[in-house]
Point group: C2
Chain length 465, copies 2
């Protein structure tokens, strides 16, 4: 990381923590030079970047001031959603985006793939190789239905960071977060039931809802404040909702993190209407703020929250290792897990458990959190310079996904089709809704930052807007 | 393998191939000594074993003769099953047998675990270690939804051994055979539908039927001839059956292999009544006869057979690698696969593909087929000496599972409960039926043969009969 980048990160964190509010004057170039022991050029470059990001404005002869973010890069509008439960109609688009016909030629701007090239991931592969070399037959056996105890011990320990007191026996290891969500939905619903979701909502969760014969009630969601607890209450009042499925921390795709207060309010609502909460925390450990935000599960006194997560975004999706803390729905979840896959792959579990125990996971996270935040800022700055007026951009609090909202006339489904000829793919917003809304939106993966291929692809995209 | 064991195997194969029929005189001790270049003691020991197996009888001053097997060790009786579709009631017993609380102390006589200690499996682990060490990020990515192309190419090549012409694109890699069966059932049924199965039937398939809200129609099955095609026809006539789920080659738990003729008849029946066939071929490559028997899928001219299999029994269950050839139900199967687990673990797929390409899989199979057949004979001989009169024992044509049928008064569910105190577990027959039939039966794993722990456990079991 360059010196000015470190400084940008430092200042962004201070602004985001609220140490400097909108309108506040930021430290002068001279004082930062002294305080941080860097050159004047470095501080100037940092402030220049912050201006591009729309976080800071310079006032002649007065210095740099925190800008009102709303006035700078506009956030996507609060989503206006359907007024009633819907059947989910999207699938072909998801299938195409996932690339059933995966090819090295195709470059995807939308697939939520973490950066897998970093050095901090290498020790995991080494541990894995060592385990395999050792040739212990136990590594080839079925693991217990609940997953390896070594790994459950480590996951329970990590859960303390999000405010949860979990025992290893409270956990079941799954084949990625997808299996966790799938089992959770099956445990708390019957075909025909309604599930409330924040909207836009992760397409994998939506397709699992569809596959189980459920309807979805999409709740309006603000790109910064998150799911509207008020709208959710109205929906609970009006419809026979069985579960609330939500990604309240470093949301996919909007990037919001629900405040602790609103998490607690959402939990109380679930209690009042006696419904289950399925909490997807897959990006939670990638929160830029550390210690990381707590989960809704941390407020759960009556075991109605099913926490679902995985190592797919923090480490690597190819591990196919997730977990579920099913609370009171444990026996139904265990049955679903057995009938779906019987067990998860043994050797990756043992390797990841050892990696966490050696501190490799936290080392990797520390690095990735910083990298992803810088990438968010770098790509956002580029977008603000190049995207047409009226483009709104989310401002995620963790992870590596941006949500772009173009003017109403833009059709991302059509643009995706056009880009196919150039072997580029995007994730059109329509995939994140029950019935193809958000056509003028798209999700953008910034895990590898503004590299040349991303810039080429975005430039191609721009020409079609 | 000792010399006399080799000779036993040689003679058993000749008898099973029909080179010697019941009543035929076998070669004399002298001629075998000459022909095989072994000692008289070796031939005597081999014939002694064959007598214990009930395959051979000695007639004073005349020599050894092939015994009529039916007169020797009686096969389990043809199952008498329910006359109507049933809901599946077993689960707690399955859960207990699977050992949700897995512990090294517990020794399971019933769990269908292959022998993982052989040398021919070691190259797989070495390849896996090499792949991991290489640190290629592609090994950590999501694989394509259908699974790695390398592996699909190899699986398609292997399928030719069972008479199937499959293209790699006809296959989807799954997280074990369990996910294949689960996706297959979801693709061809709606809740409330009826599925016909051979009975006793693998508990994993039964639980997947239960989890999808289906009823099961259990079809009478003979321990040698297999599922009764005649009874199946009556059931198809009478009930709204949507699919036939069957394990026609090296059946679990009965061990039968349906003849080609009956496989074809079953397929024609499915055509006539326009139902799908879900063919579980998980033990097929462990058939003692080589070339291995063909699958029903090999007769499939209208793509109604969904072939499900995995490497869990041939290589190692901890890989969690299976596959499905979904025929005409492909798009529904791909959707089910996506919502259940999104993808299967990448690195194991690449390692197994390389292992097969290098010939490791076929080398391993060659060894295991011989070992499992010897184990069948060794354990059967022990059982015939020690089990109470009236105990019937299956005579599997592949794999490593025996089915024991005790006199009616024996209750294996209760015996299993008693054995718990000694940390032994069995697989009571009740797990293989919809509503707890076969209480006087059990499945026995012989993959590691008559080792000391197995002998101790069986002796303990005997005391309770």
């Amino acid at each position: 990381m360059k010196l000015y980048e470190e400084l940008v990160e430092h200042l962004v964190q201070q602004i985001e923590k609220g140490l400097f509010a909108a309108g506040d004057r930021l430290p002068s170039i001279r004082s930062l030079t002294r305080e941080r022991g860097v050159s004047v050029t470095t501080v100037q470059e940092a402030y220049h970047r912050l201006e591009l990001l729309g976080l800071v404005e310079s006032r002649p002869r007065s210095g740099y001031f925190v800008r009102d973010r709303a006035a700078a890069a506009e956030l996507p509008s609060t989503t206006a959603t359907a007024r009633r439960p819907l059947d989910i109609s999207q699938w072909e688009g998801v299938l195409q985006m996932l690339g059933a016909d995966k090819s090295a030629r195709v470059f995807s701007l939308g697939h939520a793939m973490p950066d897998l090239t970093g050095d901090t991931l290498k020790p995991l592969l080494r541990l894995w190789a060592r385990r395999a070399r050792r040739g212990d037959p136990a590594a080839l056996e079925y693991d217990s239905l609940r997953g390896s105890e070594e790994l459950r011990v480590e996951v329970a320990r990590l859960a303390a960071h999000s405010g949860c007191q979990l025992h290893p026996d409270d956990l079941v290891i799954t084949t990625g977060c997808q299996e966790a969500l799938f089992c959770a939905l099956r445990a708390v619903t019957e075909p025909g039931d309604v599930v409330a979701v924040d909207s836009p909502c992760f397409y994998g969760a939506m397709q699992a809802i569809k596959a189980n014969g459920l309807k979805v009630m999409e709740i309006p969601t603000h790109a910064k404040e998150g799911i509207s607890v008020e709208a959710l209450e109205l929906a609970l009042e009006q419809w026979p909702i069985k579960a609330i499925l939500v990604t309240p921390t470093c949301n996919n795709p909007l990037g919001y993190t629900l405040s602790d207060e609103r998490k607690r309010a959402l939990y109380r609502l679930a209690q009042r209407y006696d419904v289950a909460i399925i909490e997807d925390d897959i990006y939670g450990d990638l929160s830029y703020a550390w210690p990381r935000p707590v989960t809704i599960k941390s407020f759960d006194t009556d075991d109605r929250v099913i926490l679902c997560s995985s190592f797919s975004k923090t480490l690597a999706p190819g591990l196919r290792l997730g977990w579920i803390a099913p609370g009171r729905y444990r026996s139904a979840v265990v049955h679903s897990k057995f009938v779906a896959t019987a067990a998860s792959s043994t050797l990756p579990q043992l390797a990841v458990a050892e990696f966490i125990a050696q501190g490799g996971y936290e080392r990797h996270l520390r690095k990735m959190r910083g990298q992803y935040m810088r990438n968010r800022d770098q790509v956002t700055a580029w977008l603000q310079q190049h995207m047409p007026a009226g483009t709104r951009i989310s401002y995620p609090q963790g992870g590596y996904l941006l949500w772009l909202e173009f003017p109403e006339s833009v059709d991302c489904v059509e643009i995706n089709r056009q880009l196919e000829n150039e072997d580029y793919r995007i994730a059109p917003g329509a995939l994140f809704s029950a019935s193809g809304k958000y056509r003028n939106c798209m999700r953008l993966n910034v895990s590898t930052g503004m590299d040349s291929r991303t810039e080429q692809a975005l430039t191609s995209l721009l020409q079609r807007l």
